[in-house]
């Protein structure tokens, strides 16, 4: 049986604590299922540090440990809490190397979840981190992706913000890009939106609309690859779908970069500009499959009508 993302994180964490003098810090680590089964059931003597309910100081304590060279893994159980946790991570760890020449390598596991978790805890917030210099951002969804991100962290002396999503924890397979010779549309997706986009692509294909689907792992720095450019230029337009807010978020930022690089329109679709409620009708989830399908069709239609009035 293949190893899941959760098991991968757990195994890597155990090895880090046992072999590298690493530390793991977080709130309520042992209390509720060892954070989705991603944390080895070890003791403080072995490197698992249970922090008090210290949303402001907790990350600072982890940053302090990073300065001693312990390469701590700091976990934020709900990524929305980054709005409280950000001060030490963004104002100190992210700047330390550039400003002082003193590296502060800390691995931030910021875990998103969705579905009735309310206004603070919901979904991804990697966009807020992307705008701060000094903090690379990745959003792995598969075991190999998570491992590659970890390897990057261990071979660099930078802090790293890892936007995890609970929907990835049980994934035990890899996701290859779906590229066609002449696709009608190019979809690029981030985090849990990748899962919804995959289903949307299948539905669109049943209606005769062929879509490329490219999975985005690194959000910052964002690597524009030949595969992305070829797909976008071939399809003539694209859409970046994300589990973070659309306005000023990763989807719009990356769409902008791709649009300029490829020379074709690239649109963005993320969370709506409103607070998530706990009730299902008030939720603000990752763009659902149906919404992605509708958006792709709208864009294809508008491109067709545009072609009629604007000769190319």
């Amino acid at each position: 049986m293949a190893r899941t993302v959760a098991q991968t994180i757990k195994d890597v964490t155990r090895k880090h604590l046992e072999e590298n003098q690493g530390l793991f810090l977080g709130q309520c680590v042992a209390a509720v299922g060892w954070i989705g089964g991603t944390v080895p059931e070890m003791t403080e003597q072995e490197g698992i540090v249970e922090l008090p309910a210290a949303d402001v100081a907790g990350p600072g304590i982890a940053v302090g440990a990073a300065l001693v060279g312990r390469r701590p893994i700091f976990t934020i159980r709900y990524q929305g809490f980054m709005w409280y946790n950000a001060a030490s991570l963004l104002n100190y760890a992210a700047k330390s190397k550039e400003m002082w020449g003193i590296p502060c390598p800390i691995f931030v596991r910021a875990i998103a979840m969705e579905g009735g978790v309310g206004p603070v805890a919901s979904n991804c917030h990697h966009g807020m981190v992307m705008r701060m210099p000094g903090m690379p951002v990745a959003a792995p969804m598969t075991p190999e992706e998570w491992l590659s991100v970890w390897d990057w962290f261990m071979s660099h002396d930078d802090p790293l913000y890892v936007s995890e999503h609970r929907r990835s924890f049980l994934i035990d397979y890899e996701m290859e890009p779906r590229i066609h010779r002449r696709a009608d549309f190019s979809l690029l997706a981030i985090s849990a939106a990748r899962l919804n986009a995959l289903e949307a692509v299948k539905l669109l294909e049943k209606e005769g609309i062929v879509c490329d689907l490219i999975h985005l792992l690194w959000l910052k720095p964002f690597p524009v690859t030949p595969v992305m450019l070829e797909s976008l230029r071939s399809a003539g337009q694209g859409l970046v779908v994300d589990s973070d807010f659309e306005i000023a978020g990763a989807s719009r930022s990356i769409a902008y970069e791709l649009m300029h690089a490829a020379g074709v329109p690239v649109h963005a679709l993320g969370l709506e500009d409103r607070t998530s409620g706990f009730a299902p009708q008030c939720d603000n989830p990752t763009p659902p499959v149906g919404k992605i399908v509708r958006r792709v069709k709208e864009l294809l239609t508008s491109r067709s009508s545009l072609k009629k009035v604007v000769p190319t």
Partner: protein, 318 residues
């Protein structure tokens, strides 16, 4: 009876900090210093007293008003002045300025512009040191405003729970920027509040240099021996100059010169000066003045960073 060498060491450190900051204040209007400055003049005795109790391997974290702390702990003077000038030879290559001084080689692990934010960093540093069996003591310096921050309370709680090797120094100058303590805190009882966390805490009145040293020494020695964990000192002091800038600010109306006068009259620098032989004092002062002159000359002559420096120390591509 204190030894003469001890007294000379304290006086030298006090005088050096005072003269450095007076020189900064004098130079500042010429716009050569590239960053805002928060002078410690009037508050030097706290940093000098505490740092005299430390060893080179001990580590300090400070606030934006950390010139005194930086120098008292042994931070490089030339690098500091060059940093204020924004020069390439500064301790952070001109990128950090006055509020973010650092000299890791001398145990100055950095200061920050944001109130209370280095307190948890100091606690985390102490935690990791304890876990690795290091004998270093960590000292966290902050002002009375920081005591109102959530980060402070979360940090002292954690330090007490884990019995960490850390000394907390609250430099209480009575004002958070321009707001007096009585307008911000219902009770003037900071140590009492800290003791509720399970940590010894005490107050040192009126810029008392010797008591600051004695209490710090006792606390640091106890912490180093692994006996009982953290300690907290509230050190009452007074800022003579602007909150930010080189001048005085009594005209602003939030405090009066009459309030400041007793503090100025009890200046530890003047008290220490009277304890030294005049010839020894003059020798020390000449040495310090020459060192300061050399440091400012060094800063003046140093180049500004190249434009390429903007792209150094930034993270690499994945």
């Amino acid at each position: 009876m204190r030894e003469q060498a001890f007294l000379e060491r304290l006086y030298r450190s006090l005088f050096r900090i005072r003269r450095v900051e007076e020189e900064i204040a004098e130079v500042y209007p010429a716009d050569k210093i590239q960053s805002p400055i928060h002078l410690s003049i009037g508050q030097e005795a706290i940093s000098v007293g505490v740092c005299e109790a430390l060893r080179p391997e001990d580590v300090v974290f400070g606030s934006y008003r950390s010139h005194a702390l930086y120098l008292a702990k042994g931070g490089d003077l030339k690098g500091m002045i060059a940093e204020l000038y924004g020069k390439a030879t500064g301790v952070a290559k001109g990128k950090a300025g006055s509020m973010h001084l650092i000299d890791a080689a001398h145990g100055v692990m950095g200061a920050s512009a944001v109130v209370a934010t280095t307190i948890p960093l100091a606690v985390g540093y102490a935690y990791a040191c304890q876990a690795q069996g290091k004998k270093s003591v960590v000292v966290s310096f902050f002002g009375d405003g920081a005591v109102e921050e959530g980060a402070f309370h979360e940090s002292v709680n954690f330090a007490a729970v884990k019995k960490l090797p850390i000394l907390f120094i609250c430099e209480n100058n009575g004002y958070a920027i321009l707001s007096p303590q009585k307008n911000r805190q219902a009770l003037d009882n900071i140590p009492e509040r800290i003791r509720a966390y399970g940590m010894p805490a005490e107050r040192i009145e009126a810029n008392d240099l010797f008591q600051t040293y004695d209490r710090s020494k006792e606390a640091v020695d106890r912490i180093r021996q692994g006996k009982g964990g953290p300690h907290f000192l509230e050190c009452r002091t007074y800022r003579w100059r602007d909150h930010v800038g080189p001048g005085e600010d009594f005209h602003l109306g939030y405090r009066t010169r009459a309030e400041a006068e007793p503090w100025m009259a009890g200046d530890p620098l003047a008290q220490m000066s009277a304890m030294l032989e005049p010839s020894a004092r003059q020798r020390l002062e000449q040495e310090v003045k020459a060192e300061i002159h050399e440091a400012f000359e060094f800063a003046e002559q140093s180049p500004f960073p190249d434009h390429e420096e903007l792209y150094t120390d930034v993270f690499r591509e994945p």
